[in-house]
């Protein structure tokens, strides 16, 4: 619950704190986000705010149904839209057409950041699940990065459900919790959080107040 912010990962760097320690930080361009639609219990059955990020400069690239959707709230067309479920009070306080910015956060607060992790393709068990692989010496050959046995024979006579096996890795929704905000730059729309966040540089992310810290 609670409204969040949409942004874009710009990359990582490091800065010094007051004690001279090096802090790894991720720089996120967050906001300004336009509120595009307000959903209410009476109309849609739940309270939510749809917000958008990353303005589309070439308006002719936006199709007609979406143009109508944006013009209804009198905001510029945006690329990245997300809906946040909010409390009735929050829904009351925010209206479609308004903008929200990074100033909703303060340095020292904790946030959860959600993004789409980098795709790793079809990965083996060592990379995907952290298996140890097989011994490299003592006569082993052609069997180095395998997962070993996947189960017994006569009983249970099948491979158990959920068995960790090779397969597609990454490119899925990942949330990193409890990241500390190091700096907020209202004039540049920049948020700096301590540590890494999911996804590649220029990937879209969602920033919310930390669930476990409030």
């Amino acid at each position: 619950m609670g409204i969040g912010l949409l942004g874009k990962k710009l990359g990582m760097t490091q800065i010094f704190d007051e004690h001279g320690n090096i802090i790894p930080v991720t720089v996120i361009k967050a906001g300004p986000n336009g509120i595009i639609q307000k959903k209410t219990v009476s109309k849609e059955g739940y309270n939510a705010l749809q917000i958008g990020f990353d303005e589309i400069k070439k308006v002719n690239r936006v199709n007609k149904p979406l143009t109508g959707h944006f013009s209804k709230a009198k905001v510029a067309p945006m690329r990245f839209l997300k809906e946040f479920k909010v409390t009735p009070d929050d829904a009351e306080a925010n209206d479609a057409g308004a903008t929200i910015s990074v100033e909703m956060f303060e340095p020292g607060e904790f946030v959860d950041v959600t993004g789409t992790s980098k795709g790793k393709g079809f990965a083996g068990v060592m990379k995907r699940h952290g298996f140890k692989g097989a011994p490299a010496s003592h006569g082993s050959h052609e069997f180095f990065r395998h997962g070993g046995s996947i189960g017994a024979n006569t009983f249970p006579a099948k491979v158990m459900k959920g068995k960790k096996m090779p397969g597609h890795m990454g490119a899925k929704r990942v949330t990193v919790q409890n990241l500390k905000i190091v700096d907020v730059r209202g004039d540049m729309n920049i948020l700096m959080v301590e540590g890494a966040i999911p996804g590649p540089t220029n990937g879209y992310v969602m920033i919310k107040k930390a669930v476990k810290k409030s």
């Binding site: 710009l10 990359g11 760097t13 490091q14 010094f16 004690h19 001279g20 090096i22 720089v27 540089t201």
Partner: protein, 115 residues
Amino acid sequence: MNEMVDLIEKEHMRLDLTEIHVGDNVRVYTKIFEGDKERIQVFEGVVIRKRGGNTRATFTVRKVSYGVGIEKTFPMHSPLIDKIEILTKSKIRRAKLYYLRDLKGKAAKLKEKRD
């Protein structure tokens, strides 16, 4: 790198320190905090490596102390560095002076550069 990230890094850079080069004989004064007391520690040696850009840059100083080689890497823009003194400059032909690690005594001496 993103322009915005570059800008933020530039803000945290220390431009007041003396610019050093590989091969320089330097004296690095670092602040050390013990409880609430502060004192200055000096490390003197030759700069054998400079790496990284903007705030991420570091440099490594090597000295031989009682016959044991000691190397210390400092973040170039750390607020803990009080000052850097350049004692002498050297004529060098490498960007990284790792070969000094294998040399001892007179062979490990660099030719001094005089202006």
